[in-house]
Amino acid sequence: MPRSKSVINTQFETDDPNRIQDVGWTFKEVWRRSRGFVVTSVNLTIFFILWEIATVYGDINQLFLPKASAMFGELWTGLTTRAPEGAVFSGSILDHFLHSFKNLMIGLGIACLIGVPGGLLMGGNKYIESILSPYVWALASLPRIALVPLFILFLGFTTKMQVTIIVLSAVFPIIINSWAGVKTTEKSLLAAARVFGANRRQLYIKVVLPYTLPFIISGIQQGIGRGLIGVVIAELFGGSKGLGYLIQRSADTFNTAMTFAVLLLLIIMSLSLVNFTRWLEGYVAPWRNSNHL
């Protein structure tokens, strides 16, 4: 094919492959990438050292604020020991953690299985949308704690009850986000797909679904936060296992170090899960670039 490249264009050669060059690993580059991690580590270390100094030299009742070292001590022993076979109550944090974590994962799994298809259907079909939306909004706006006594009545102090609370806590952000994702699919992308020959099924598979995927993930991210609230609430209200129960129990027995240890563990767990979904969001949808918060 003869190429009569315009003179104007050659002056503004923006697409020269040599334009992208290897920067290499300079000290500045290493620092730029690890800066966030280093600053946070130093920050937290100073925070815990100040805490320790305040509790050792300050006149603070250990019942209100335990030493940071005591909290880490409890966390370490709690996570490295298991309860003996047949024990009624275990001070092992690991046992309670595994119980709570398992419930959270089951609850989140069920919430996704209900929430993602539910939200997609609501976004894709206006009849399903108008039938389901009043129930979704009603339940989503109801504080889920209000339902706990009812589910204790229905299901007793069981794992089933706890998982139900978690599902109810986590499912609505997932439904609403998936639904909104479908609804906000860019009109011009749909028009482009139609111009180039997409039928209805292809519109959903090639446009709506990939467009909605990051919305679904951020729905799950919100679901994790809500689900964790559900875990703790369900265990605080009723149950003899789990991190929520352990908080209650350790506070009742004046073991504040243990209470703080469990709270710290909850923070770590929540942040890890949320960061995982953020990473996932950035991985599947790098163009959204929304995870610089």
């Binding site: 094919m1 009569s4 104007i8 697409d15 011009s188 482009a192 180039f196 292809q202 990939p210 163009w287």
Partner: protein, 270 residues
Amino acid sequence: MTAVEEPFIVAKNLTITYELHRERKKLVALQDINLEIKKGEFLVLVGPSGCGKTSFINAVSGLVPKSEGSVTVSGKEVTGPGPDRAMVFQDYALFPWRTVEANVRLPFELQDLGLSAAEKHDRVKKSLELVDLIGFEKSFPYELSGGMKQRVGIARALVTSPDILLADEPFAAIDAMTREAMQGELERIVMETGQTCIFITHSIDEAILLGDRVAVISYRPGKVKEIVEIDFPRPRMNNSEVKTSKKYAELRDHIWNLVKDEATQTNRGE
């Protein structure tokens, strides 16, 4: 661009109305449009915002159903999109999760044109070559500049070798310098492929430099106010004589006078 004398795209008494649900009213976007476009012709539509230019192009592409009248392409009534027509969008409409290459390949994934995998691959490569995007196949749209994004849009439209290229203000969001370069490239590409092109713009200069004919559309309801013939020789883009000629100034003035009244109406919201 050698124009064969029989009309290729024909719009007859074309009327397009939209229902405004909230107000229980109908908006007449285009009324009684009669246009004949010859094969290989470059038709530019100019007119104020909201005058129905986009509705016309969407009626030809098959995206918008017509209310009255007809649009035919080589004698056949347009009832929906087809592989003989491709479109370039103002906001690029690239799929952000697809690489440049995958975006250009999209038309092949959506419709079966009876091509082998190797042929498809060749066509994608050729199309990217035509818009100078070799080396960026694996980039994602968000990594590209506006001008490069629109080149992907053009490559995607060209990949199926459509007879008709529809362009809805393709360069409106691109900066002035890149824009001139892109106009030159589009002229070069259309000269090479011999496609029929319907092109919407707000820029009178762009209209004169690109069009064989410029149709001025009036404001609400949209009607064809006048069709201006442009007979500068091609390529016009690198020809500095075109832009400095007296005829160019006259044409520019003439089209501006046609558009001006309409544009002031728009500003008053009438």
